[in-house]
Symmetry: C2
Subunit: 165 residues, 2 copies
Amino acid sequence: MSLNSLDELLSEQLQDLYSAEKQLIDALPKLASAAKSPRLRKAFEDHLEETKLQKERLERAFTELGIKKNGHTCKAMKGLIEEGEELLKKRGIDKDVRDAGLIAAAQRVEHYEIAAYGCARAYADRMGKQTVAKLLDETLIEEKEADQKLNIIALDEVNAKADET
Amino acid sequence: MSLNSLDELLSEQLQDLYSAEKQLIDALPKLASAAKSPRLRKAFEDHLEETKLQKERLERAFTELGIKKNGHTCKAMKGLIEEGEELLKKRGIDKDVRDAGLIAAAQRVEHYEIAAYGCARAYADRMGKQTVAKLLDETLIEEKEADQKLNIIALDEVNAKADET
């Protein structure tokens, strides 16, 4: 894939995000099933529904920009998800501590997306592609909110339970 | 490594961050050399010096907590850095577009660290380990500032140049 214009960089970043969202749609149900805290489980389930909408927004951005999906795999998201899944495979781990660890893994994922959507939105803005910028901004706001929600669950509940073990 | 207490989770997260910082110390000089924009190059060089101090802060936290380094490799940071380095290997890429791409890669790295230091600081806070919490907080502030600085360079200069190509 050539990278000789900001337009091409935007396409490349959107392909990366599309792969990231698809990987997350596969991973979030596993995180939800593993969560001991009902509140955390619900946060993962809610974010799964949001993530499906975010994938659709990217598809609308592709249509808007005339981009064809190229099957690119976002390796960084693969690594981030693998780190979360390693927690699920660990034997004999305390379930409250695991909840805290799942939040830590999920916040890394959210922050990856915050950085990536932030950059992509800035490129779209710069090039005056307002429809695409708006779609990316809607998702960016949701990712920041998802991160904040996880933070609150950690500070309100999960870290305290993990500390009592 | 067992994960049966918040204390053990904190240790695990600090080992992860220690590996992340070491990998960054190796990677940042390559990003600095590749940057076309002198302002971006300086930002990478400055952040290299900060990153060395951040590694030292982690060493002080290890001493404080009686943790021995276990040689763990942070796979997510490995993936993030590889994505940045792929940009450096691409042939015939426009140098302004590459600068924009380097910023996008570096902001993903900063956000990984923001999430990770944020979680680790929360665990230290929760357990009343104030010396460690303070060390982690100092770095967290620097990571947020580094991310903001990159953002400003992108919006002020680099994205516009990449858009002119």
